[in-house]
């Protein structure tokens, strides 16, 4: 994906302004920043859920908004909310998304994923009665369902226990090899060293830092981040 001078204004408040960001295949970019910096807004624009106000945005080779429909086939979006019907079971939710994304051999793949996120025992309970972390696991499975080439994750570690976190990190670790890309919004700065190749810091809708994290440890990343937002 590639963003060039992208911005979005809600009413009179510029949530995102003049953002330039390029992510190439196989790259994992972490976005950090204070509350209200515009991270989620940027992610929603890339996910084709919000139109850009200014600038041009190209995702998976498609320019938005014209190519939005084609781009969507290759995007996996994880939002604050699990985006699942509470009265359907995890399996039924995944079946719906499989239909929407045209996933091949859907039943096998759904079973696989439910196994992987350890929800197979609860696969037929309504989502409403799942605990918060279980819902987040379902959201993970939903995001991976159609083998997206670009993952957009908004605070993916929220509510996940140790096992869930390990699972997610393992998934992110394989991305490099298959040439998939990921953009990860997170407040847990210490994790960035292990899940991302690049650190982007946003403040007040703008990118203030964009640099590789390769070779740095958690403490170094944290220190660097605090320096940036000071």
């Amino acid at each position: 994906m590639s963003a060039c001078g992208v911005g979005h204004i809600y009413g009179e408040r510029a949530a995102v302004a003049d953002v330039h960001l390029d992510v190439v295949a196989g790259e994992r970019v972490a976005i950090a920043g204070p509350n209200g910096a515009g991270k989620s807004t940027l992610l929603r624009m890339v996910a084709t859920l919000l139109r850009t106000g200014t600038g041009t945005l190209t995702v998976l080779g498609e320019e938005l908004p014209g190519g939005a429909r084609r781009a969507r086939c290759g995007i996996g979006y994880l939002a604050h909310d699990p985006l699942a019907y509470l009265d359907l079971s995890p399996r039924q939710n995944l079946q719906l998304y499989a239909d929407l994304f045209g996933v091949q051999d859907a039943d096998r793949r759904i079973d696989d994923l439910l196994e992987r996120v350890d929800l197979i025992a609860r696969a037929d309970d309504p989502v409403r009665v799942l605990s918060r972390g279980m819902a987040q696991r379902l959201a993970l499975a939903r995001m991976l369902l159609h083998e997206p080439r670009l993952l957009l994750l908004d605070e993916p570690h929220a509510s996940l226990d140790a096992a869930g976190t390990a699972l997610l990190d393992a998934e992110l670790a394989t991305m490099h090899a298959d040439g998939r890309a990921a953009v990860i919004v997170t407040h847990e700065v210490e994790r960035i060293a292990s899940v991302a190749d690049r650190l982007v810091v946003m403040r007040r809708g703008r990118i203030v830092v964009d640099e590789p994290v390769a070779g740095r440890g958690p403490a170094q990343v944290r220190a660097r981040y605090e320096e940036c937002i000071a």
Partner: protein, 234 residues
């Protein structure tokens, strides 16, 4: 980066969406049951409003029937996007490569199904309780009007409920936008019903009302196709 992989077929998307709606329906089951009960309660309540003053309501059969169906439609259509909205799942659907028109079509089909089930109950009940005179021999004609009217209701209903989705007072906006759009349906439905109930059939009048409904449906189809992409376009 290269092009994305599989291009999903819209038939499968449509089927998936309808299956989802029906599954939600089966899980919560009482939706159709409640629509049916609601229509009966509405008939009763209108009966109370008017029947106590006039013993033979045959003249009003069409009106009673179609006013009831209109309110039931508002209720049923009001539910179209409740799950998506309350459970904040719409973003998930919109982030998938489904053409917005397919979303519309899926909702419209679900509404047609629910309305048909409701009518399966309402039409006989009206016959039993309100009509003094011939009724059952014209039930086929009534079913036909109902069918055409359902298409009108479904098309306009999905459009307006899609619009209402993004306004704050959804529960109120919908009846306020949607009911006026149903006024022609009520008039034509009541007129057509009246033409074939409780006396000699007046087929030319009947045909006129039906054609009117067909025209209305086509008109709304055009409006839907023209505007629906814009409804969901952030």
């Amino acid at each position: 980066m290269s092009m994305a992989v599989n291009r999903p077929r819209w038939t499968r998307q449509l089927a998936g969406l309808i299956r989802k709606d029906l599954r939600l329906e089966l899980r919560t089951k009482e939706t159709v049951m409640a629509m049916v009960l609601f229509s009966i309660v509405t008939l009763t309540i209108m009966q109370f409003g008017f029947g106590t003053r006039d013993d033979d309501l045959t003249r009003f059969t069409g009106g009673l029937m179609w006013v009831t169906l209109a309110f039931t439609a508002v209720l049923g259509v009001g539910r179209s996007y409740v799950a998506e909205r309350e459970q904040r799942v719409l973003d998930g659907i919109l982030a998938s490569p489904v053409p917005r028109v397919v979303l519309l079509a899926a909702k419209a089909i679900a509404i047609v199904i629910y309305m048909a089930i409701t009518e399966l109950v309402v039409i006989p009940v009206v016959g039993i309780f309100f009509v003094k005179g011939p009724y059952w021999d014209s039930i086929g004609w009534i079913a036909l009007v109902a069918l055409i009217a359902n298409v009108c209701i479904a098309l306009s209903g999905t459009l307006f409920s899609g619009l209402a989705l993004f306004t704050r007072a959804r529960d109120l906006i919908l009846p306020v936008l949607f009911l006026p759009a149903l006024v022609p349906v009520v008039i034509a439905g009541a007129g057509a019903t009246h033409a074939v109930v409780g006396g000699p059939h007046d087929m030319s009048e009947y045909r006129g009302y039906c054609l009117f409904l067909v025209g209305y449906a086509i008109l709304f189809l055009l409006v839907c196709i023209a505007t629906y992409d814009a409804v969901f376009d952030d």
